[in-house]
Structure formats: C-alpha cells, structure tokens
Symmetry: C2
Subunit: 197 residues, 2 copies
C-alpha cells in the first residue's frame, strides 16, 4: 500500500500507527500540504477534499479521511469491537475527534508551529473549544482505561494522534490526570511507533 | 427508542429520516439547544459533547454523533454496503460531511436563520468553504446517482440533511446540476420524510 502522507500531521500519523500495529507494509509519499497547487496535482482524483492522508490500496483504489481509513484497516481485527453498540461508540468518539477536537487542538498546534497563532482572530476561541474537548475526554477516561469497551481500539488511535502533541500548541494537560494515564497506556501498546518514527 | 432532538437541526433530521425508513418507532424529546444550562441538565451523562441528537436505546443506553447513530441503525440493512471498501467509502463521505460540509453550510444557515450572519467575522470564509464542499460533492455525483456504490445509503442521508436546506443559508445551487438531480432522487426514496414532518 502507498500512503500519501505528511510527517507532522496527526491525521496521517494515525494511519501509520495502525498500519504498523497490523504489520502491513506501506510506502510513504510526502505531500507538501502548504502548496495548494501541488495538492491538486497529487491528490486530484484520489480525494475530493484534497487532503492527506490518502491510502492507495494494492489494487490502485483510494481511501481518504483518516478515521474512515482506520475503520477499513481495523474491521475484523482486535482494534474494533464486533459488538454493534461498541462499534457505534467507537465511531461516536471518532466523529467527536473530527468535529470537536481536531479543528481546535490540531489547528492551534499547527498555527503555533508555523508562528502564526496570533494572526487569526479565532485562535483563542479554538483554544477554549480545544480545552472543552479535552474535558469531555477526561470525564470519559475517569474510571476507564480506554474509550470503548475498556480495551485499546481505533477510537484511542484517533484521539491519541493530536492529544499527545497538544503541548506543541500550548495546551497544558496538568489538570487532566486521566488523559495523562491513558496517553501512557496507549504509548505502551504492542507495535507502537511515535509520530517521528 | 427516544430521540433527544431539535426540529430545525439537520443532524437530528438525519436520524429521524433513517428511523422512519427503517420502520422503527421512536418518540421525540425536543431540546432547546440555545440554553447551555438546559443542555447540561438534559444531555449530561448522555453525550460528553452536550449536543443533539442523542438516541436512547430501548435498554436505556445512549448513542451520540448523528453519523455514528446512522451507522448503528444501518449495519446489516440495505442502507450500508457489506463490501469492506464501500463501507469505508461510506464513512469517508460521512467524515467529509462533518468536517468540510456541516461546519460551513450548516453554520452559515444557522446564523442566517437567527439573523446573526454578519456578526461573525468568519461567515464569508465559511461560505467559501461551504461552496468548496458542494463542489467536491458535485464532482462525485457527476456520473453517479448516489455517493457510494450507486445506490442510496447513509452517506446520502448524511449529506442530504444540510444540502437540501442550503438555500436557507443563502447558498445558490443553480451551478450544481448533479447535486440538484441527486437531491430529487433522495427525496423520492421509499419512506422519505421532510425535515418539517
């Protein structure tokens, strides 16, 4: 398989992490996401939203949206439950991740890394909403080792990606002990790789 | 089943539509989403993100995130494929809907309906991004009757919800003939109900 990738992107890291834990070989093709024209050239026809990650399957078909890719890879493995309610809860947390967490925690981190945080009037609102997402996670993890069914799943992969680098956006996790414990448990899963691997 | 609901919300309408098409009886409990305190009282313990829709199952368990609820209801029915790639493509479009479409098309509509559109500095950017999402949809539907596998699925339910009322946010679909044809096909599916039903 080939992964259209961006090294610092948490969304891309999710896919690299799960592919590695599943023992699936893949090659990485780095896409310069700052070049809009380059994205059209490389991703046009592969992802209508022109974003990475995009996974190219062995038969040449493409899949986009990080959490949809995780689902494709994880179905019928230990990384997603076969119980209907737990499967839906897994998706609930993955949609939460893309709606409440990524647009806030990841965007603030991205702007911080580029030195542009103060150029955007909504950065403080995104920081507040990022903390609200972290608070929702903290409540769920208080008394639970993982997000769904008390075992590691793609819901954890999805939420780990940008939470474990939230400090790069200036988020302080000192007041979130349940999240801190969970980050440590996820990092010690078999086959774990870091975002820099 | 009981649906914690908001009548004008497209996210809630998705769930009402699919429940009706599946012939599942449900009662609606309207939640005043403008009252943050009321949301905490009603939704605390049911959805960590404190948003509707929330579906209460017959056994008292709860599910949140509209598209996760659709998946729960649709698995093993005609409304989601049993082919692994088509299942992931269905989720790809549903994540696209929550990330690229809803925060733009739905938010502009909501602000317009409340008369507050010009109060937000990012309304024009959201309108541009809403049109970009519609353009991605138009490309996919050019030559396809539906989003996945050329048959009606929960990907269509998810994207129909806010697209068919986009004009209430001032979006002009005249330049989107493939979307217009698709809207008509979706509205003529067996068991279809409107957002006002």
């Amino acid at each position: 398989m080939r992964l259209y990738d961006s090294a610092p992107s948490g969304n891309c890291y999710k896919v690299r992490l799960l592919l590695t834990q599943l023992g699936i070989a893949f090659e990485r093709q780095e896409v310069d996401t700052r070049q809009r024209d380059g994205r059209d050239d490389v991703l046009g026809g592969k992802n209508p939203a022109l974003r990475v990650p995009v996974l190219e399957l062995d038969d040449g078909r493409h899949l986009a949206e990080s959490n949809a890719i995780l689902w494709y890879l994880a179905e019928d493995t230990q990384y997603v439950s076969d119980d209907p309610y737990e499967r839906a809860k897994t998706l609930q947390w993955m949609f939460f991740e893309q709606y409440d967490h990524e647009p806030n925690v990841a965007v603030v981190r991205h702007r911080t890394m580029l030195g542009h945080l103060d150029d955007y009037p909504d950065s403080e609102q995104r920081r507040e909403r990022g903390y609200a997402a972290l608070t929702a996670m903290e409540r769920q993890l208080d008394g639970h080792d993982y997000f769904v069914g008390d075992r590691y799943s793609i819901a954890d992969v999805a939420l780990y990606a940008y939470t474990h680098v939230a400090h790069e956006g200036g988020f302080d996790l000192d007041g979130y002990p349940a999240i801190s414990g969970w980050l440590d448990r996820v990092a010690h899963q078999p086959g774990h790789i870091t975002i820099d691997d």
